[in-house]
Structures are given as C-alpha cells and as structure tokens.
Symmetry: C2
Subunit: 324 residues, 2 copies
C-alpha cells in the first residue's frame, strides 16, 4: 500500500522487539497480545506517524515510541471491539475472545492499553507532555465514537451527519493524533502540527468510508473479515444511511424489514441488503464523499513546504484504491 | 476508618469536580463512571497517597492528580472485574454490567482508565516521569494479578505462596504505588520512597487478607457485597487454601466435593464451606498472617523521621479491625 519498505520494516522490527520483551506469565494475559500483533494488520497509523516525522526532517527514533504506542492502542481497541461486536474473525483469524474467551480478551486488552502508555513514556521528555495530551484526547474520542456506534445500532433515526461525526471520533481521531504526533516529534511549528492534524483527520474519514464499502463489496479472501459483518450487525454505515435516504416505497419497506431482522440467515440478509445497495448505487455516493476528504487532505498539505510530502499523497491515493 | 476528615473531604471534592467535568454525551460512556464514583468506596488508596505526601511535608496539591488517577484506576478495575467475576453487587448497589450491560461496562471501564491517565498528566512536570513509570508498573501488575486470580479458579493445585504472590500483584501493588507516589510528590529521598513502597505493599497484603475474611465472616449489611462471593466462585483465597492444607480425610473429601460444585445452591455451598472454615479455625491463621504484614509495615516506617507517621500507623490498625 505504498508505505516505504524501510518504514514497514522498522515498525515490524519494533513490534517484534516489543513482543519478545513481554513476560511469559501469566500466559493468557500476554499471549493474546502477541497473537493480535502477529496476525498482521497494515500498521497504517504508526506508518503515518513516522512518515510525517520524516517529512518534517525529524528523527525516526524520537517518533518511534509514540508510533508503537498508537499501534498497541489500536490493537487494544480491536480486541475489545471484537468482544462488543461479537466478531468471529479479525484479519482472517479467530478473534481473541473466540480463540480464548471474553474474560481473557477483556483483561489482555486492558493490559495492552497500559503497555501502550508504557511505550509512550519512552518519548523524549521535551515532546512527552504534548504527546501525552494528544494521545489521551484521541484515546477518549475513540471510546466515545465506539459508544455512539453501539448506540446507533438500535437507535431509530441516525443521520448521515451523526454517522460522520461518529467515525470522526471512532476512526479519524487516531489518524489525526498519529500525524500531528509525527509532526511534534520532528519539532514542527504549531501551525504545521495543526495542519497535519486536519490531514490525518481527513485521511481517517476516507479510510473508514472505504472500510464500510469493503465490508460489503470487498473480496472476502482479501479483507480477512466476515463479508457483510456490518449488515449482519445492523451497523448504520454510510451505505445503509444513504440507502435509507434514497429508497422509495417498496425498497424502503424491504430495507425496514431487513434491518434488525434476526430470523433471516446472515447470508440471506447480506445478499438482500447488498442488492438494494447496488440498485440504489450507494457505493458511488460513498466514493464522492471520500473524494471530499481526499481534497481536504490535499488542501491541508498545500502550504507545507516539504519535498517528501508526495509520499503521503501517494499513500492516500492508494488508500482510496485499496482492496483490503 | 481513621482517615482524617480533611483528607476525606479533599478527595471527595476532587472526585465531585471530576464527575462534573465529564461530558454528558455519550451518556452510556460517562454515566457509569459517575455512578461507580458516586456509590462511595473508602477512597483508601488516594487517602494513603495524600497522607504519605503530608507526612513528608509535601503539598497536597502536588499529590492530588496522582491520588485521583489512582482512585479512577481502582474504579476501572472494579467495573471490569465485576464483569469477569459476574458479580451482581458492589458496595451494596448493582454493578455496572448489571445496571447497564456488559458492553457498556467494558467501554466505560476503558474510558475511565484513559481518564485516569489524563488526571495523572496534571502532576507537576518534575515529578511526572517517575510517577508515570510507577503508575504503569502497578497498573500492569494489577492486571497480572487478576489474570492469575482467574486462572487459579480452575487450577487444581494452588499453594498459599502462589496466592500471596497473586494478591501482592492484584491488590498490594496499587497500595505500594500509592504510598511511594505520595513520597515522590513530597520530594522525599529515594530511600524513603522505597520504604513507603514496602509499607504500602504490606498494608495492601493485610487489606486483601482482611477482605477475604470479611467476604465470609463479614456482616452482609455492612460489606455491601454478596456474602461468600469468593466461595460461590471457587476463589482460592487464603481461607480456602489453609482449609485444604489443614483438612483431614472426611473434611477433605467434603471440601473437594464442594469446590467447583455447580449443583448446590449458592446459599448451601457458602454455609457448608463456612462451617468447615469454622471447624478448622482458618480465620485465626489469617489473622496471624495479617499480623506478619502489620509488623512489616511498622518496621518499614521505623527509620522514617516524621511526626505525622502515627496517622498511618493508626489507620493501619483500623484496617486490621475493620468490619467493612
């Protein structure tokens, strides 16, 4: 996905070092962490952090603790979200609560969050105070977003604005924090740090919308997730909300029958909702929305004078076109 | 419980300020935090932190952020432990996962842990690095202890040493961190900070052993918990392990039949195990073990020159004699 190999390798190495540094006991606390980190993931957030740091001519070593902390935090949220959403698969592998049990997933997730803070604390002291504030604020927003996401599953009326606000917290806040932290650990100006925050936020929005599209239209072998997981769980994604907005009479009635329907088999439900999405062309609307964020991303980078910003632009284009 | 009123009031005030500072939305994220903090608790850990700080002539305001962080962290562990242990009551009130549901308890617990770090970050910068390390180390130990505690429920052989090691992590680590943080935020010498760590550790051990005793022999109206909750859950407490050690033939067979028995009614099970404890006199052994920690606590304070240390000594004696 256009992440420079050197960055990918550096993150992978640090994650390996982290995993090896974990105690062996209690096994059911530490093995799930190692498992989650070993089953891959794109390490997108730490990559963005390091790339931003490099773009501002910073030292990768100064940004690494925050990058690893962000990756650990992200994996903590995945472990806990998978319990909440009762998801069977993550990156094509059984989720932690399925492979072990919910109590193990709960506790090893907690410990992983604490480990994230331990890594964060390795940030050079001069950057630590502002990094710590950004990290906490983003972490809290992620929880708020997740809570809204849960509430929206059963809430009758959710607007597209509600949804965009929710994903700005649940997903984009961590992207925003990653990119501004990258700028901070390179000693960039406050104004540039803020621009990178906007860039990260836009990129996160784009990323989440693409995720929603891939959940339904992605190739199951590639995404490593259950196809149509969002549909099965009645997640009010951009696609569903747009479909509700566009649907006329018969289609609207059918959609209303499908949402919250627990009698239908998951496969049937996914197939029928997907058909409605296709008939209404909601994927195209999602693409248009993504384009808005892509433009916002580009705009926030315009006034930044750094030759290496092309790497970030290419990466973002690749995120728009990604299949996984 | 012999905590000076001024300290109690200060903590209560800060917790109230904290609760009022929370956003209203998402409601199911923040209301459970306010609920947990409002249903009381002794605020023992933050009190010990502030008392230690005062003992070393420190400023309470310098220690307050760490004290509040410790109290928030402690409440986070209670919310999550109650899910894991499936406990219906906490301080005489329904637990968060019962009053709301497990998903709400999981997520609001997570957010409370992050809020704890936000409070911790208000510590004066000169003390923050060492406070941050202590906090993380203790937090991780608490998770490790909780994991061992869970594993011991189904493990065939658990020694009394295993148990003492487990509670040194699950409970005593946070007491140790509280008291050493109190010393740090008063600018105490490294040697004195370490002594306070030992004192806190001993006090935590004593506190947990007393908790085990109260779980079975406490007055139900006073503890606010389900009587014999540990017995119902087959928790391998000091009492049970001592009983296993002391029991001869017939009693041993009966104990083995009772442990893990899911057919008996909880009330029956508690009654029969309690009878065995009484016949074997295990409560007295627990009292002897507590005395060991009390002596260790006193010894660690011996060489500390501070007139106010009597407050801590009296408080610890009160912990030995407490009924709740």
């Amino acid at each position: 996905m256009n992440i420079p190999l050197s960055i990918q390798k550096r993150i992978k190495k640090e994650i390996t070092v982290f995993c090896k540094s974990l105690p062996r006991e209690p096994r059911e606390l530490y093995e799930p962490m190692q498992y989650m980190l070993s089953i891959g993931g794109k390490s997108l957030r730490p990559s963005l952090l390091l790339l931003t740091c490099k773009m501002f001519k910073g030292q990768v070593k100064d940004a690494l603790p925050a990058a690893i902390a962000i990756e650990l935090f992200h994996n903590f949220t995945l472990i806990h979200d998978d319990i909440t959403d009762n998801s069977p698969l993550r990156r094509g592998n059984p989720t932690v609560h399925v492979k072990w049990n919910s109590n193990v997933a709960l506790l090893s997730g907690d410990a992983l969050l604490i480990k994230a803070y331990q890594e964060l604390n390795k940030t050079p002291p001069k950057y630590l105070p502002s990094i710590f504030i950004l990290f906490n604020d983003a972490a809290l927003k992620v929880c708020e977003g997740q809570q809204f996401d849960m509430e929206y599953e059963t809430k009758a009326r959710v607007s597209i604005d509600d949804y965009l606000n929710m994903i700005s917290m649940k997903t984009a806040a961590l992207f925003a924090a990653s990119m501004s932290m990258g700028a901070i650990t390179a000693g960039a100006s406050k104004s540039d740090c803020n621009k990178m925050k906007v860039a990260g936020e836009s990129l996160g929005m784009l990323f989440q919308l693409k995720d929603d599209v891939l959940d339904v239209f992605g190739k199951p072998g590639k995404t490593g997730k259950q196809t149509g997981g969002d549909i099965i769980q009645d997640k009010k994604t951009f696609l569903l909300l747009k479909a509700i907005e566009l649907a006329k009479r018969k289609t609207k009635t059918e959609l209303n029958l499908l949402i919250g329907n627990t009698k239908l088999s998951p496969t049937d439900k996914v197939q029928r909702v997907k058909k409605i999405y296709e008939d209404l062309g909601v994927e195209e609307y999602a693409n248009q929305q993504m384009q808005i964020y892509y433009n916002r991303f580009k705009k926030s980078l315009t006034s930044i004078k750094a030759p290496e910003k092309d790497i970030l632009l290419n990466l973002t284009e690749a995120l728009l076109d990604r299949e996984v």
